[in-house]
């Protein structure tokens, strides 16, 4: 039987029992999440690899403190976000932000749709990197598909405050992605 990564944990003590999905499994299940969070805080590929390593190490160190009162996904997202925020604070220079394409029209059914989709994703990533940190944090969690209850718990803020922060973040993101509108 395959262990459910949302209800079990892996530890850095090297002992992985039945209740512990191996770290490999965590990487396979949540590697994409970690990679996207790293991308939304650092555009430079070399520095991003360094940030990704820091996040993996942080997850590995924090896993023994995981309690199943939240899903493993929320736990990993919180650790990854906190490590990324502290990474930004430590950087001597501001993380690189690239130019944003003027429009993001992706639904035109052209043969290059896949490439356009990838461009759209890159533009979205660049736009999130331009958001103020509290807004970036909340937008990333919404884009990752977390529920508002989960986000409120992760950020430790009341539903009203979350709604306001999200609304401001959404407006800021829209302004960056659709500057003419």
């Amino acid at each position: 039987m395959v262990a459910d990564p949302d209800t079990n944990m892996a530890g850095p003590n090297g002992v992985e029992n039945d209740a512990t999905p191996p770290f490999d499994r965590i990487v396979a299940d949540y590697g994409g999440l970690i990679s996207r969070i790293a991308m939304s805080y650092e555009a430079d590929p070399t520095l991003r690899e360094d940030l990704t390593q820091q996040i993996f190490l942080a997850v590995w160190q924090a896993l023994p403190s995981y309690r199943a009162d939240a899903t493993l996904k929320t736990f990993i997202a919180k650790v990854a976000q906190n490590r990324s925020i502290s990474y930004v604070a430590r950087q001597a220079r501001q993380p690189r932000v690239a130019e944003i394409p003027e429009t993001l029209e992706a639904e035109d059914g052209t043969p290059e749709q896949h490439a356009i989709h990838a461009n759209e994703r890159e533009a979205l990533l660049e736009a999130t990197r331009q958001l103020a940190m509290p807004q970036r944090e909340v937008i990333i969690l919404v884009l990752e598909g977390f529920t508002y209850t989960e986000i409120g718990d992760m950020l430790n803020i009341a539903p009203n405050a979350l709604a306001l922060r999200l609304s401001r973040a959404k407006a800021a993101l829209k302004k960056i992605l659709e500057p003419g509108r």
């Binding site: 850095p12 770290f23 490999d24 990487v27 396979a28 590697g31 994409g32 970690i34 990679s35 996207r36 690899e49 990704t52 390593q53 993996f56 190490l57 590995w60 160190q61 924090a62 403190s65 736990f75 650790v79 906190n82 925020i85 502290s86 930004v88 604070a89 430590r90 950087q91 001597a92 993001l104 029209e105 992706a106 639904e107 989709h117 990838a118 759209e120 994703r121 979205l124 103020a132 940190m133 509290p134 807004q135 944090e137 919404v142 884009l143 990752e144 598909g145 992760m154 950020l155 430790n156 803020i157 009341a158 009203n160 405050a161 306001l164 922060r165 401001r168 959404k170 829209k174 992605l177």
Partner: protein, 207 residues
């Protein structure tokens, strides 16, 4: 994109990395885990080796002085282990708490680092003066001893002085550079904390 739709953007956002990217991620994670395990193992082995050496030395020469020095070494080792453990726990709280808590903790850490660095820099001059004064007061040269020979070689004295001054200048350069980096980090942390504070205040005003 005709409408600003976060759900649709979420679909774009959550595209899975391609297999090559996933493989690269797996390799990075493996390397990180391996290094972390080795680091833990080396910490434990180093502690055991130090404790073992101290015990062997103390037991093979069971004089009062040896036992006192051995005991002090063991106490220092235990203190270092407890301190490392506390630092790890504090780091863990920062990782698993809210961003605001993590920022508060980081600000306190950088402020403490800056305070220590400032104290070290300020104490350098009095420490040097004290060291020179002590050297002068305890100078009991007699003809033929190595100290007298050393003072009789002006070139050697000048070289040692130049080396000492150079080392001090390099050390001070690193201390001041580290202080500048800490100040910049503190500014960034304070700026981020302020951004969260403003968001919180705006949330409260809207309630």
């Amino acid at each position: 994109m005709t409408e600003f739709d976060l759900d649709r953007l979420g679909d774009v956002w959550r595209q899975q990395p391609d297999p090559a990217e996933l493989e690269a991620l797996r390799r990075v994670a493996d390397a990180v885990r391996r290094r972390a395990r080795w680091s833990q193992l080396i910490d434990v082995l180093a502690a055991l080796v130090v404790a073992g050496v101290v015990l062997v030395l103390a037991l093979s020469n069971p004089r009062k002085e040896a036992l006192i020095v051995g005991g002090a070494a063991i106490v220092a080792l235990l203190y270092s282990i407890v301190r490392q453990r506390r630092l790890r726990e504090a780091e863990l709280r920062g990782l698993t708490g809210s961003a605001e808590e993590m920022l508060d903790q980081s600000i306190a850490r950088v402020q403490a680092t800056l305070k220590r660095a400032k104290f070290g820099a300020v104490m350098t001059t009095p420490a040097l003066v004290l060291g020179l004064a002590l050297g002068y007061l305890t100078d009991r040269r007699s003809p033929g001893d190595p100290v007298s020979w050393y003072h009789g070689q002006p070139g050697l004295v000048a070289a040692v002085l130049a080396l000492a001054c150079g080392s001090l200048a390099i050390a001070m350069f690193f201390v001041f550079r580290s202080m500048r980096n800490s100040r910049q980090e503190l500014e960034r942390l304070t700026g981020l904390r302020e951004a969260y504070h403003k968001e919180g205040e705006q949330g409260l005003r809207s309630d």
